[in-house]
């Protein structure tokens, strides 16, 4: 590595910018901001039926309760009572008279303390006229209830291809939902300022949407609402659209009382009243040859969307876009249904439908392998995207950048997959009660918002007279290290130490009209936008030096805190001072839009993704056939991050994403009772992985050969979502273990709780 490469701010494992604050408890989250003196605390009352009309909503006792200063219902909304992120007008701030899920907000109060507010909302007298509740996908399909139109993606004649294949498999797989369980629940604080304007502090991935939603509901122009987000205590998609409602409620109450209002949800209410990952029913039918190569495939997706559309359409679309995962499907027919249910509206969650889509095809591959009696990894490999013509996706995009053959082979070698598979079989021979399984599964994940216009980002960079730099962009920090990565890009552009770049809170006042920090595209887009801003300023400095020193542009270099021109070298700050005195602007905005992408949804055809991110994992598991209890014994991961901007941050996404995915597929189960109430609304009943669920043998590595073929920021690749899907290897391995126990592979649904594992074993033994 050359000296200058070593000093580069990018491609280095620098610590998260807030790490030292995190460990001391000094990193401020919304609830930690010193409270204004006259702050009121809001809380909301919710429905206790899943579906019905409100016959009576008596709030007299609520109004009279100790400490209560204001009570609002939908009748108090002056603007548009519409919080739908896609303007579907199918979701108000509060249920009007029509309740559509158990836990739906009906009204809210502001009181002098949070405790009093929480007590007050329990005093409401509510009577309902219950109506039949459609809670799950099957019921919605039967009733023909949908939030939006079905969608079809089709290439070739799948039906025909299946019929003409020597063998075929078919079945149904159910994948469960998932609560985000961000450790910091939803929270917003709204402070009225001059002219009826509102200053909003919120925990949201999408400050612009919070701003616009408040403006719409309160009938204000957007310029009257400023939304600021310094950091979130986790989000994972759960604060993309669903942070807005709570900010709106606080804003309504702040406006009504003229006082600052904070609304922080209790964990149980958060889990009950905010949306989750969509659960899916996936029906499949696939025809294949004797090598296990798929000739044709049909998928039927049905997603539980909840009571409104929210982001369900693009989520269900992304499931379709990933129904192929890494495999070439010569003929494919994918149809997708977006079911309306009387449950909370489901929303974005890391992977955004992609994981569900992939689960379908990975199950198909496992079934084919079982049918042929071969190693599933060989079937996977036989189906990988390859050279033309085996490189066209069901949506007619050419896969030009697949690295999976190479990456997976390396992983198989390094993890000792083949030998360990033999060991697993030997273990299963000699053990009656405990059975093991091992699986290698790949991930190919499309990067870009599939709604093309969302692929834009802005940044604002100031250089102050002393050479210190202020960085702002539209991306938000939820723990993924975005701020650190973009600061690295900026430090690199100016050749200054990272510490010279000040990371500042995301605010709609500095960078407007931003897209949610989502789709893994945060550093790709904001890094580019920030770089553009830096380059504008650097160009001006360069112009100045060319002028002042009579040097040529190519002789000017920004590095190691200095600016070198010709033989001379000067401190960055010294030059900045002169640039300022020469009356040259040291502030610039930057903008980026992702190139090359286009998509015609009507035709289901185009290039929705700029590129693909790749990775693969090998997981080995053990089950107890008496109880269904299970453990992950070992995990090996190889993941392509391109030329990583920050290997430490990327490793964090890989390991963290994997474990979150493993939780989704094993212990995290959402359970509704017969009244349509979600009963797993607390960590006591909803079980995300703990430290003990992560095996000692957990070997994640970044693929050293990785390099993005496209012109992304420093040739890096997005890494936020893709690793979650590496955990499909755990599910697949559990399936292998179930088969080893005489169970039925196709009976194993997700999450593979001890109960489902035991059921799948029983199903096989019955046959």
């Amino acid at each position: 590595m050359s000296d200058s490469a070593r000093d580069k701010a990018v491609h280095r494992a620098v610590a998260h910018d807030s790490a030292a604050k995190h460990v001391q408890g000094t990193a401020m989250y919304v609830d930690d901001i010193p409270e204004p003196r006259n702050l009121l605390h809001a809380y909301f009352g919710t429905s206790t039926v899943a579906h019905g009309r409100i016959k009576r909503l008596d709030l007299d006792r609520v109004r009279a309760a100790e400490g209560v200063k204001a009570v609002i219902t939908s009748a108090d909304i002056r603007g548009q009572d519409d919080i739908s992120p896609v303007h579907a007008a199918d979701e108000g701030v509060f249920a009007n008279d029509h309740v559509q899920f158990y836990g739906q907000p009906l009204f809210a109060v502001a009181a002098s303390s949070r405790d009093l507010a929480r007590r007050a909302v329990r005093l409401a007298g509510i009577e309902y006229e219950p109506e039949p509740a459609i809670v799950d996908i099957d019921a919605a399909l039967d009733a023909g209830l949908f939030v939006s139109e079905a969608h079809v993606m089709s290439r070739g004649d799948a039906e025909d291809a299946i019929c003409n294949s020597p063998a075929s498999v078919e079945g149904v797989l159910r994948t469960g939902g998932q609560d985000h369980f961000y450790l910091e629940g939803q929270v917003s604080m709204v402070i009225p300022v001059e002219d009826g304007d509102l200053q909003v502090y919120t925990s949201s991935q999408h400050p612009s949407e919070v701003q616009q939603t408040i403006a719409r509901v309160l009938d204000k122009p957007a310029n009257a609402v400023t939304v600021e987000v310094r950091r979130m205590g986790g989000a994972f998609g759960g604060k993309e659209t669903q942070a807005a409602q709570w900010a709106v409620i606080a804003a309504l109450l702040a406006e009504q009382t003229g006082r600052p209002v904070k609304l922080r949800l209790d964990r149980d209410d958060d889990m009950q009243s905010t949306g989750k990952r969509h659960d899916f029913i996936i029906r499949y039918q696939a025809g294949f040859d004797d090598q296990g190569r798929i000739n044709g495939i049909r998928f039927f997706h049905a997603a539980r969307c909840g009571m409104s559309s929210d982001l369900s359409a693009p989520i269900a679309d992304r499931a379709m876009f990933h129904a192929d995962n890494a495999y070439y499907l010569p003929a494919a027919h994918i149809e997708s249904h977006r079911c309306k249910t009387h449950t909370v509206s489901n929303t974005a969650f890391r992977g955004f439908g992609g994981p569900q889509g992939m689960m379908g095809i990975e199950r198909v591959i496992d079934e084919i392998a079982q049918h042929l009696g071969t190693d599933p990894w060989q079937v996977r490999r036989a189906n990988f995207y390859a050279e033309a013509p085996r490189n066209i996706t069901p949506y007619f995009m050419e896969v030009q950048d697949s690295v999976l053959d190479e990456l997976c082979s390396q992983l198989a070698d390094e993890s000792g997959y083949t030998a360990r598979r033999t060991d697993v079989m030997a273990f299963n021979e000699s053990n009656e009660i405990h059975k093991r399984g091992i699986a290698l599964t790949p991930v190919k994940f499309g990067i870009s918002f599939t709604t093309t216009f969302l692929n834009q980002a802005g940044a604002l960079v100031h250089v102050y007279k002393d050479g210190s730099i202020h960085l702002n962009h539209g991306g938000t920090e939820m723990g993924q290290g975005l701020m650190t990565k973009v600061a690295q890009v900026v430090a690199d552009e100016f050749g200054v130490p990272l510490a010279q770049v000040k990371i500042t809170a995301t605010t709609t006042a500095k960078v407007p009209n931003t897209t949610a920090t989502a789709a893994s595209a945060g550093s790709d887009m904001n890094g580019m936008a920030a770089r553009a801003a830096c380059r504008t300023i650097r160009e001006r400095i360069t112009d100045f030096l060319v002028d002042e020193q009579d040097v040529s542009r190519s002789d000017i270099h920004f590095e190691q805190g200095m600016v070198r021109y010709g033989p001379q070298s000067e401190a960055f700050a010294a030059i900045i001072e002169r640039v300022w005195m020469a009356r040259i602007s040291l502030s610039a905005t930057g903008f980026y839009k992702t190139p090359k992408i286009h998509y015609d949804r009507e035709q289901a055809r185009g290039r929705p993704f700029f590129y693909f991110a790749y990775g693969a994992a090998v997981s080995e598991v053990e089950i107890d056939t008496l109880t269904g209890e299970n453990r992950i014994l070992r995990v090996d991961i190889l993941h392509d991050t391109g030329q990583s901007l920050n290997p430490a941050v990327d490793m964090g996404q890989i390991e963290g994403g994997f474990v979150q995915g493993a939780g989704w597929l094993t212990s995290e189960e959402l359970w509704w009772d017969e009244k349509g109430q979600l009963r797993t609304h607390a960590p006591s009943t909803y079980k995300i992985p703990t430290c003990g669920d992560v095996p000692e043998e957990f070997h994640a590595r970044i693929w050293q050969q990785g390099c993005n073929r496209e012109e992304t920021i420093h040739k890096s690749k997005a890494v936020g979502e893709p690793p979650l899907m590496l955990a499909i290897s755990v599910f697949s391995a559990l399936g292998q273990a179930v088969v080893a126990a005489g169970g039925d592979l196709s009976s194993l649904d997700a999450p593979a709780t001890p109960e489902r594992i035991l059921n799948a074993i029983a199903a096989g033994r019955r046959d």
């Binding site: 408890g25 450790l183 009656e432 209890e629 957990f698």
Partner: protein, 485 residues
Amino acid sequence: MRSKVRFHLNGELHEVQHCPPTLTVLDYLRNECRLTGSKEGCAEGDCGACTLIVAEAGSTGTEYLAMNSCILFLAAIDGKSLISVDGLALGDGALHPVQAAMVEQHGSQCGFCTPGFVMSLAAMYQDHDQQPYSRENLNLNLAGNLCRCTGYAPIVRAAEQSLVSRDSTLVKELDQRVTTELEFLESDPPLSVEGTNGRVFAPRTLAQLLELRKNHPLATLVAGATDVGLWVNKDLQTFDTVIHTGAVAELLEISKENELIKIGAAVRLRDALPELIRHYPSMRDMLERFGGAQVRNAGTIGGNIANGSPIGDMPPALIALGARLELHSLESRREIVLEDFFIDYGRQDLKPDEVVSAVLLPIHDDGQFACYKISKRPEQDISALCAGIFMRLDRDAIEEARICFGGMAGTPSRAGQCEKALTGKPWRRDTFESAMQALKEDFTPISDMRASAAYRMRVARNLLLRFFIEHDVPERRMQETSSVR
């Protein structure tokens, strides 16, 4: 008598007049002291984001216990020393070794869980037994800390980095300071708050406790508050009068006489664990998976029984072993067999003026015993069902079978028909198979979010089978290498 709650927080003496009976330490820190380092992730003792260290005098020196401040009432820390994340960094502003390791190993992402992890690790760092680092021990200590971002791997690396070799000077310095603080408050008279916000008592002797119990029949007894804390935070229950049992000397004793272990009702799970597993090693798995460290550091044996829960983990094991319960009122003392305490769902044999004072557990040196805890997630999860199985053999016949299940009925219940199908029968697989069938006459379990009725029944049967397999004669005993446990 004393009306101010007194304790040290990060080296400073705090005195709280008119302490509200259910004010939690977390709310005190965040709202009263504006110390916002400790986070609220759940307010129900399950995520660990609010973890801090409660230091107290132990028999062999000062002990440093990680606890969940969200369900810890202020009066419960009377006389103790608290260390919160806000005060962990060293005097000169340098990071504590566990903090430094968390930074160096990239152990934080969103950072919201981080203060809790830091405090759990700091408690391990300061642990006076100085247990050697192992991943297994780490898992036990972190089971009560949830992280949604990192997948734990970097936290494990940080733990390893900081705990493998500890700076003994640092440990000693803190220990000296805290020990002095504890000594300073040692001779405080018992706490007795009768103020505008309600009454809080923390008696020191059984006699004082019984007197208070009699005078305040509506008072709520609080031991570790790992149940009561949730009623306050989630159901918004208010208590006018609270009596803490945590300082009552007799309730804190563990003694052994005549083949009987007597465990005081206020003995915490962590303190009962060594003695229990010395005699009944099979309890280890259940006890180590009972809550997380924070819950075991606060929750008591008495609380686990007195709450009357059908899914408490202790009762099935204790009932199978023939434990008795000691109940005291000012006027009388009585003993009942433990299963008789549980009358029905939500109803126990406890008079308004009585307290549970101890569990009396026979030490069997003949017989076979096993205890099983089945949950969706291995660590810190309430059981879907749990079982205690005890059998005594006479040659090849089953002389006595005591089988108790939790999670199968409204109370922890003996499996009478199943026991009958075993008693006097030969120790053989087919005997067990008919006993497994008999379970359906004993129980009609319910379906809920933890498991379906069918699963509960199937697994209850399989646990009997497991008992048979695990205790069969050596040449037939199942020898499996397993990593599930």
